[in-house]
């Protein structure tokens, strides 16, 4: 069945997927990818994964929950789920999001206004399973039945639901089919929030049942809390890498580049997403060039987690979220810096600046600010000499949801690109109405099974269409084009997406950060900082 999957089917006892997507079902892409027949074939989910894990939702499997061996084991898991459901609605366990969750549970008018705002739903060809209210409706019915202990009348009013292990297992997977971009919440006339529902479900599974995507938990927040970074780099390795980056940057720019470490009393503690250091070293390198040229007092920290701004807890677990945020603040407190500046990482911005805000008090309430505003001030106030002619190629800007719709940092990055990129053009829609890159909420780093195929074909599809449209007048490969994405996770998704569709090879669409564009335009830097090479 391609469309029209019903809520009750979530409890179907077999392990066959509820939906399968064909290319012809998906939202059409603009030229040159308009022919569905020419689209990549999806890598199928392996038979081994289907046999070992709970993969009964759709064409992929994100979390890899082992299949229970006995009915008794299944029942035990369902019991745990229901216990977690109760906790989700108690003050002691979930004061963090209880009020918005209650409002969303009790006041959705089921009008479906949110559906048209959801890029996943639209890209899937409006498949019911990916409708933003599909998972919310399940949680809502569970809430009225098991938390409110509703009877027959409640079932009539709110809809009934049967709970069994297949439903719970499918719900785990479904919680990982939402980018948490909250575009749906922005359009809801009631103010209900389906993104929050996915977030709270992930929390229930993680905090009560210990179930989470391994890229977010074991290889994410746990690794970060153990060695300091989800990349696995400890403080010695990260310093070594930065030293190498400094050398490379000095050579490329012709300037002496030095990254300061652990400078007590510096004005600014800069925290990068450590993924940049490994995957896009030119980004932390470019920051060092700009901040040094502007004469700022800044430092990096080698404290545990002090050099990696990621906080994956934001997407699935309040305890892990709080722990990582605490580590970031501790690093800043120890160095007695005046403020923390967050590098180009959207979710790190939202985690530390917005979501953690009210749990910080006293000496731990160290001001946090976006690197984009700092860079804007440097560029707009001409604290460095810039030559926009060096960036005379088509540039478009991707708006990371966490920075823009969920934090309101919209203009600083635009003020920069308008000043230094003569051929800047916006995607439509943009700013707070932007579409997610499809890698949000952890998807960009989730590469198990054939999950990447799902995020390229479905969650990244709308962004892909936007990119092609923005560069529609200059797709000729003789014209190099730059997709500026000031966010590490977005860059990871865009890298994979552009590579999957061959857009660098065939149309010379390169992606990168914002700091690199600034350095590329710096008059005091040797020309050609951007190398126009795929990485």
């Amino acid at each position: 069945m391609k469309k029209g999957v019903r809520l009750s089917q979530m409890a179907r006892e077999d392990r066959e997927p509820l939906v399968h997507l064909d290319h012809a079902d998906l939202m059409r892409l603009p030229a040159p990818l308009e022919d569905p027949a020419q689209d990549h074939h999806w890598a199928p989910l392996s038979a081994q994964a289907r046999e070992r894990y709970e993969c009964g939702l759709d064409d992929t499997c994100a979390v890899n929950i082992p299949q229970p061996k006995t009915k008794a084991e299944e029942e035990e898991l369902v019991k745990k789920f229901l216990a977690g459901l109760d906790k989700l609605f108690t003050r002691e366990n979930n004061w963090t999001f209880l009020q918005p969750l209650l409002l969303t549970m009790e006041h959705c008018a089921r009008c479906q206004t949110c559906a048209d705002a959801c890029h996943v739903f639209e890209a899937s060809g409006r498949n019911e399973l990916y409708r933003p209210t599909f998972r919310s409706e399940i949680l809502r019915r569970l809430y009225f039945k098991f938390v409110q202990r509703g009877g027959v009348l409640s079932a009539f009013q709110h809809g009934d639901i049967q709970v069994n292990w297949p439903l719970v297992a499918r719900l785990v997977e479904l919680a990982y089919r939402c980018n948490l971009c909250r575009r749906c919440a922005q359009t809801c006339p009631m103010g209900a929030d389906n993104g929050l529902v996915a977030h709270e479900l992930r929390k229930l599974f993680s905090q009560e049942m210990g179930i989470a995507a391994k890229e977010l938990h074991e290889q994410g927040s746990m690794l970060q809390l153990k060695v300091g970074s989800s990349t696995g780099m400890n403080s010695v390795v990260v310093k070594d890498n930065l030293e190498f980056i400094d050398e490379d940057m000095s050579e490329k720019t012709g300037l002496e580049v030095h990254t300061p470490w652990d400078v007590e009393g510096a004005d600014i503690l800069l925290i990068h997403n450590a993924g940049e250091i490994l995957a896009w070293p030119e980004n932390p390198g470019a920051f060092a060039v700009v901040l040094n040229a502007a004469g700022l007092s800044w430092t990096l920290s080698s404290e545990l987690a002090g050099y990696d701004s990621i906080n994956y807890g934001l997407w699935y677990d309040d305890a892990q979220f709080a722990r990582v945020a605490w580590k970031h603040l501790e690093a800043a407190r120890k160095l007695k810096v005046k403020k923390i500046v967050l590098g180009e990482c959207g979710h790190a911005h939202k985690a530390l600046s917005v979501v953690a805000d009210r749990i910080l008090a006293g000496e731990m309430d160290i001001p946090r600010e976006s690197a984009l505003t700092l860079l804007r001030d440097i560029v707009v106030n001409e604290r460095i000499k810039l030559d926009p002619a060096r960036n005379n190629f088509p540039v478009t800007l991707h708006d990371p949801c966490n920075l823009v719709r969920l934090m309101g940092v919209v203009e600083p990055q635009r003020e920069i690109v308008r000043k230094i990129c003569p051929q800047f053009r916006e995607m439509e829609p943009h700013g707070v109405d932007n579409y997610c890159c499809g890698g949000g909420a952890g998807f960009a780093i989730m590469s198990g099974n054939n999950f990447p195929a799902w995020r390229f074909h479905v969650s990244g599809r709308k962004k892909l269409a936007q990119i092609l449209t923005a560069f529609g007048d200059c797709l000729d490969p003789s014209i190099p084009k730059y997709l500026c994405a000031p966010c590490s996770n977005c860059k990871g998704q865009l890298r994979d997406l552009l590579a999957y569709y061959g857009l660098w090879e065939r149309h010379r669409i390169l992606y990168g950060g914002l700091a690199e564009l600034i350095v590329n335009a710096m008059a005091d830097v040797q020309p050609g900082f951007l190398e126009w090479e795929w990485r």
Partner: protein, 313 residues
């Protein structure tokens, strides 16, 4: 007890249940703990030049050194069109807006009619000369106009919404028996009231007479059976609304002001910081081992613990 008095009692009881239900719901949400920040931009009380593009104070360097701004006009510019014209729906779901707006406008007009009738009845009590003079005639024309158009619009809107519920395949998963029942409840109530009024006969009291009788507890009034049924249905409907998601006029205050637009930084509010300090003393009971919640540890203990084996503490 005469039937008329029973009807009055039901109407009084319904008004009380409606108010109590609304207050209880509002108090429940207001007493819920403050949550972590979860705003969605645009936030209309930001400075006007930022509201245009949906920006926030985070766009300024050293934002914490500047006094907090609150742009009340910006909020009103969004709130009033939303409350009066359902602007969000107009913007994001135009097809539904036509039906929903007709329905809601109808209800607004009927609420206005009710208010005018009570006002007229009070005037009758306080200054009968006024109500039997030009003022009374004017009021009569106004509440008749709002009443008739209110019923017509609400019925048309409810029929439109019901039609959509029953025919749109995309709503199949999210339509419950309750959704259909609620719309039918409105239609039957409004239809009964309208029929009761139209077929009341020349001897029957008018709507103002009933309102006056209700206020003065006039047992001599004889309310025609169909109109009485309509009034009882209306009373039941009013009592029922606060029990359902149809009380979204209360919830919207919280979803907008306490969630979507709540961008107050903790450092700008000692009250906020005090509340959050209290929450950090709560003792959660989540069972996953990595959380480390044993019912004795507080959120503060958990947030400052490191569950990673072999980690530098």
């Amino acid at each position: 007890m005469p039937v008329t008095l029973i009807i009055y009692a039901i109407l009084y009881a319904a008004a009380l249940v409606f108010l109590a239900g609304c207050v209880a719901r509002a108090v429940r949400y207001a007493r819920a703990p403050l949550h972590l920040r979860w705003e969605v931009y645009p936030v209309p009380h930001e400075e006007p030049q930022r509201v245009r593009h949906g920006g926030s104070y985070f766009e300024e360097t050293d934002w914490w050194t500047r006094p907090a701004q609150f742009n009340l006009l910006g909020e009103l510019k969004v709130m009033l069109p939303e409350m009066l014209f359902l602007k969000g729906l107009w913007e994001f779901n135009r097809q539904l807006w036509y039906r929903s707006f007709a329905f809601h406008l109808g209800l607004y007009l009927l609420t206005g009619t009710l208010a005018l009738l009570v006002l007229s009845a009070l005037l009758w009590l306080a200054a009968p000369g006024l109500i039997f003079g030009a003022t009374g005639r004017l009021l009569h024309y106004v509440y008749m106009a709002t009443g008739v158009s209110g019923v017509a619009l609400a019925v048309v809107g409810a029929l439109g919404l019901l039609h959509r519920r029953l025919t749109d395949e995309e709503l199949a998963n999210s339509t419950t028996g309750g959704d259909i029942f609620n719309l039918l409840f409105f239609l039957v109530t409004l239809g009964t009231l309208a029929a009761g009024y139209v077929f009341a006969g020349p001897e029957a009291p008018g709507v103002l007479g009933i309102a006056y009788g209700w206020l003065t507890w006039d047992a001599s009034l004889e309310i025609p059976p169909v109109l009485a049924a309509g009034l009882i249905l209306g009373a039941l409907l009013a009592s029922y609304i606060p029990l359902t998601h149809m009380s979204h006029f209360i919830a919207k205050y919280f979803t907008y002001h306490s969630v979507r637009w709540d961008d107050t930084p903790g450092r700008h509010s000692a009250k906020l910081q005090k509340r959050f300090a209290e929450y950090l003393t709560y003792r959660p009971t989540w069972s996953a081992p990595h959380v480390g919640a044993d019912g004795a540890k507080t959120w503060a203990d958990i947030a400052t613990a490191n569950p990673a084996p072999g980690a530098k503490k």
